[in-house]
Symmetry: C2
Subunit: 329 residues, 2 copies
DNA sequence: CTGAAAGCGCTAACAC
DNA sequence: GTGTTAGCGCTTTCAG
C-alpha cells in the first residue's frame, strides 16, 4: 500500500494541497463545502498527516523527551502516569529514555535527545553536571527537572523539599532528646539521599549532635539484608530512616531477626513508599510524596515553557504529608 | 543561537552537503583528509544531524511506539528495561504510550501512532480487537505483541504460556484429590486472566470437577481486602490463585484476619510477583515470569521484522519456573 | 571521490 | 477562499 500523502488527497478532492493543509489544521478560512469535500477524501483514502514532515516544516515536533533512571522505573510509575495524562491533553508525544548508573553515557544521551529535535525534556531527578545543563541550554532546549531545585532561563523544576522533610523529622526526635538517628544510604538515588543528609545534618548541627548520620548499605535487597543482619549484632539505633520502603523493609526484617522490637526499641521511617506498604505489617511510617502530581505539574510547566507563557514560579515546591504508621511510636 | 545545518557544515569545511551527509552516515567512499576536515567542522560548529529531516528523507524514523497500560506501569518496569536495553543497542528511540482502561480511545491512539510514523510498535498485553489489528496492518506497521499468542504478516508475539501454567498448577493439586481451587479475578488484566481461567477450566474438565473456578474481586487493594474479609466469614478454599502478588497479599491478609491458616488450611499462589515478595513473610509461591526477557526478546524480534530478517518463529514462548515458597505446603 | 539536483510530506507567506 | 511556491534539513541517484 502506497503511503498516501496530502497531495493525493488534494487530487482526490480536486483542490490544492494548501487547502488540504488548511483543513487538517482546522484553519477557519475554508469554505464549508470544500472542507467537507476534503474531509471525505481524507476519509476515503485513509490519509493520516505525516507528523515527521510537519515537524520538519514547523521546526516543532510536539514531542518531548523523558529521562528516567532504569532502577527507579518501578517507583516512577506514578510520576510517569501524571506526566502522560497531561501530555495527552496537550497532544504531546513522549520519547522515553532510561539511564543506567555507571553505564549510560550522559553525553550520548543528550546528543540523542538533541538529534531527535524534541521540543523539550523532562528529567526525573538525575544529577546533571553544570556542563551537561549547559549543553542543553546551548540548544535552547526547555527543561523541567523533577526532584531537584534548579532554575534558569528555560529551565524549571518541580520537587518536594526532602531536605526540609528530613530536617523536620530529625528535629521532632531531637527535641525529645532522641539523638541516635541514622539514615540508610542506599546509593541508588544519590541526589535524593544527599538532600536528606543535608536536612539531617542541619538538625544535628542545631542540636549539637556530633554523630555521623549515615549508614551506607549495599544496593540490593538481599545483600543489604545480610549486611544489616550482621550490623544488628552489635548495633542498635533509636531511629532509622530509609529512602524507599524496600530499604525500610530490609531494616525491619533484619531487626526482627536480631530481636529488636519495632517500634519500641527502634523506630523506622521511610521517605517514599509504594502501594505494598499498605499490605504489610507493620506498616512503615512514611512521607506521602505526591508522585503523580510531580509528573503532572512538571508537564504543565513544560507546556508553559513551550508556549512562552509566563511561568510565575520556576521552582515549584510540592508538599508532602507525614504519615505516622506502625513502625514508629 | 541559530540552528546549524548540514549546509553550514558544508560551507565551513568547503565541501558540498552531499559530502557532509556521507561523513555523518559513515559512508566509506570519502577520502580520509576531507572526512577529517568535515569532522572538524562538525565539531567546531557543534552540529547535530536533524533526525526529523533524516526521517523524512528516508521514510524511516528509527523510532518505535511502545504501548503499556497505565496500571501495569509499575509491573512492566522490568519489561520496559529489557526493551530499552536492546533498543539502545540498535539505536532505536521509544515513544511511550499509556492506555487507561475505559478511558483511552484505542482508535485515537492508533491514529496517533500512525501519524508519528514510527517504524514499528510493541504492545504489552492489550486486547486489540481484530479491527484495530487490521488498521495497523493496513499501514504496514510491524507489530510485536507481548503477552498474547498472535501472529500474522509482520506481526509477532512473545509470551509466557499462562494457560499451561494454570493448567499444570491445577493439575498438580487435582491429582492429589485437591479440588477446591479458586482463581481470584482482579479484572485488571482481562486478557491474562482469561488465559489463566482457560488453563484451570481445562484441568477441571479433565478431572471432572464441576465447580466454578473464579472469584471476582474488586480492583483496588482496599476494597478487595474488605470484600475478602467478608467473604472469608463463610468461605474457605484449599487453594487460591492470584494474578499479582498484591492480590495474593489481599487474600493472605484477609485470611489471617479470619484465622485461616496459611498454608495449612489454604494455600496461596500468585503468577506474577514483584521484588516485594522476597521482603514479606510468608513469601508467596509464584511463577518466575521472565519479565526482562519478555521486553528484550520483543525488541530483538522487532529489529528482525524491521530488517526483513527471517523470523524463525513468529510466536515465541518463554519459559516460566514455578517457585514454591511459604504460602504453599 | 565529490558535487548538483531532485525529492521526502508538509506549512506558510504571498498572490489571485 | 483558494492556489502557487519557497522552504524545513537531509539522503540519494546521477554526472563528472
Amino acid at each position: 500500500m502506497k503511503r498516501i500523502t496530502i497531495y493525493d488527497v488534494a487530487k482526490e478532492a480536486d483542490v490544492s494541497l494548501a487547502t488540504v493543509s488548511r483543513v487538517i489544521n482546522h484553519s477557519s478560512v475554508v469554505r464549508e463545502d470544500t472542507k467537507k469535500r476534503v474531509e471525505e477524501a481524507i476519509e476515503r483514502l485513509g490519509f493520516k498527516p505525516n507528523a515527521v514532515a510537519q515537524g520538519l516544516a514547523l521546526s516543532k515536533t510536539t514531542t518531548l523527551a523523558l529521562v528516567v533512571s532504569e532502577t527507579s522505573l518501578s517507583y516512577t510509575g506514578q510520576m510517569i502516569n501524571g506526566l502522560m495524562d497531561v501530555a495527552k491533553i496537550y497532544g504531546y508525544n513522549i520519547i522515553l529514555h532510561t539511564t543506567t548508573e555507571g553505564i549510560t553515557d550522559l553525553g550520548e544521551l543528550i546528543e540523542n535527545i538533541i538529534k531527535s529535535r524534541v521540543d523539550g525534556a523532562v528529567i526525573f531527578n538525575d544529577k546533571l553536571t553544570e556542563n551537561e545543563l549547559q549543553t542543553m541550554q546551548n540548544y535552547q532546549l526547555p527543561l523541567v527537572i523533577v526532584g531537584n531545585r534548579i532554575s534558569r532561563d528555560k529551565v524549571c523544576s518541580v520537587f518536594v523539599n526532602l531536605t526540609r522533610a528530613a530536617y523536620e523529622l530529625a528535629t521532632s526526635y531531637l527535641k525529645r532528646g532522641i539523638t541516635d538517628i541514622k539514615l540508610i544510604e542506599d546509593r541508588k538515588n544519590q541526589s535524593q539521599t544527599n538532600q536528606l543528609i543535608k536536612g539531617l545534618q542541619k538538625a544535628f548541627d542545631e542540636y549539637g549532635v556530633k554523630e555521623e548520620p549515615v549508614i551506607r548499605i549495599p544496593r540490593e535487597y538481599r545483600t543489604a539484608y545480610s549486611f544489616l543482619n550482621e550490623y544488628f549484632k552489635d548495633h542498635k539505633h533509636q531511629v532509622m530512616i530509609a529512602n524507599r520502603d524496600s530499604h525500610a523493609l530490609a531494616v525491619l526484617n533484619a531487626a526482627k531477626e536480631a530481636n529488636i522490637e519495632i517500634p519500641d526499641e527502634t523506630e523506622i521511617v521511610c521517605i517514599y513508599d509504594s502501594k505494598y506498604n499498605s499490605m504489610i505489617r507493620p506498616q512503615i511510617s512514611s512521607f506521602n510524596i505526591p508522585s503523580y502530581d510531580l509528573g503532572a505539574v512538571a508537564m504543565r510547566v513544560m507546556t508553559k515553557l513551550l508556549n512562552d507563557d509566563p511561568v510565575p514560579d520556576k521552582e515549584i515546591e510540592l508538599n508532602y504529608v507525614y504519615n505516622a504508621r506502625q513502625s514508629t511510636k
